[in-house]
């Protein structure tokens, strides 16, 4: 049982690493499968969207955040979700004058922890899955948003910044055949 004590004493840290490495091998596989990085970016966004659609249920059940009444509420909840699922606290800022656009700024990006981009991948938006997650999750609470990266530490920026823009509020649709 001597080995038991030598186990890394921070299991939380380790499970984060597992996630980071798994994501890395997924991106590597995508790069191998697709010829150009734009397709990889698109695929990552789509995967993120699928994850976001399911993740929102987990988030609503776990954190019980309640309804959002305006975009500032939404931004706070996105911040809370980052804390919960990735263990980082992004800051929210750079609101547009109309209040329909904001930035999620990450000082450290857990997805990119052991990553360096080689020269031929400069067009790759490595963490693009996060943009997809935000879009997918918001759509499930009837908010159509656009999310995209405007700064990335992997490309030499100081911070990683995701821009989120409110598009429209989705209305409850009446099932076909019922009036």
């Amino acid at each position: 049982m001597s080995r038991q004590s030598m186990r890394s004493n921070d299991p939380k840290k380790v499970s984060g690493e597992l996630f980071t490495l798994t994501y890395g091998s997924l991106v590597a596989q995508l790069l191998k499968d697709y010829e150009n990085v734009d397709d990889v970016n698109r695929q990552l966004e789509r995967m993120g969207y699928n994850i976001g659609m399911r993740l929102i249920e987990d988030f609503l059940a776990r954190a019980n955040p309640g309804r959002c009444y305006d975009l500032r509420d939404t931004a706070d909840k996105i911040q809370q979700a980052f804390k919960l699922y990735l263990g980082v606290s992004p800051s929210i800022g750079s609101w547009s004058p109309g209040g329909d656009e904001f930035s999620v700024v990450l000082e450290t990006n857990p997805l990119a922890e052991f990553v360096e981009l080689p020269d031929h991948c400069l067009g790759l938006r490595y963490s693009n899955i996060l943009a997809g997650v935000i879009r997918g999750a918001c759509e499930m609470v009837q908010l159509e948003v656009m999310a995209w990266f405007i700064a990335d530490q992997l490309k030499g920026d100081n911070v990683t910044e995701i821009r989120v823009k409110f598009v429209k509020r989705l209305e409850d649709a009446i099932p076909a055949g019922e009036d």
Binding site: S2, R3, Q4, M6, R7, S8, P11, K12, V14, S15, G16, E17, L18, F19, L21, T22, Y23, G24, S25, L26, A28, Q29, L30, Q43, M47, N50, I51, R54, L55, D58, R62, L84, Y85, L86, G87, F114
Partner: protein, 156 residues
């Protein structure tokens, strides 16, 4: 821990990604992609996990490490049963495997179960490769959510 959920979701997306395209994709090819992803993750992960541990005294010791520490780290439980013939074959039983536990109890979805095991086979193979054991890992399910992994060590 909520990060587990992220790992589960990434894994699910990886599975659905390699199997997208329906009938026309070749099952073996898709499984080998997943296996490769698992291998790459396992190879790197174990390097970080065992940074501070001492040397393992033999192969069985390494297998015990896989069953206890690695499984707890990745799947939050220990392997339920480890068997070996002492000639390089090890069988690991998990009675409630995490990737299968939300799917079904019994035989429903049995035909899809192997897809959710390929990544883990690779993960185990990658870990063992980095610890100096070359092997082939296969998995088998007869009843969800239980499954068994067979490790066959290659010598020579």
């Amino acid at each position: 821990m909520a990060e587990e959920a992220m790992f589960d979701f990434i894994h699910m997306e990886a599975v659905s990604y390699v199997f997208q395209g329906g009938e026309k994709i070749v099952e073996d090819e898709a499984v080998s992609k997943l296996e490769h992803m698992g291998f790459a993750s396992g190879y790197r992960l174990v390097e970080r996990l065992t940074r501070e541990s001492g040397r393992y005294k033999d192969e069985l010791d390494i297998m015990k490490y896989i069953c206890k520490d690695l499984w707890v780290t990745v799947y939050k439980k220990q392997i339920d049963n480890l068997r070996t013939n002492h000639q390089g074959v090890y069988v690991l039983h998990d009675n409630r495997f995490r990737f299968l536990s939300h799917m079904a109890t019994g035989k429903q979805y049995l035909q899809y179960a192997p897809r959710y095991l390929a990544f883990t086979c690779g993960l185990v193979r990658g870990c063992l490769a980095n610890l100096g054991v070359t092997c082939v890992v296969t998995a088998e399910v007869t009843q969800l959510p239980a499954c068994k992994f067979q490790i066959q060590v290659q010598r020579g």
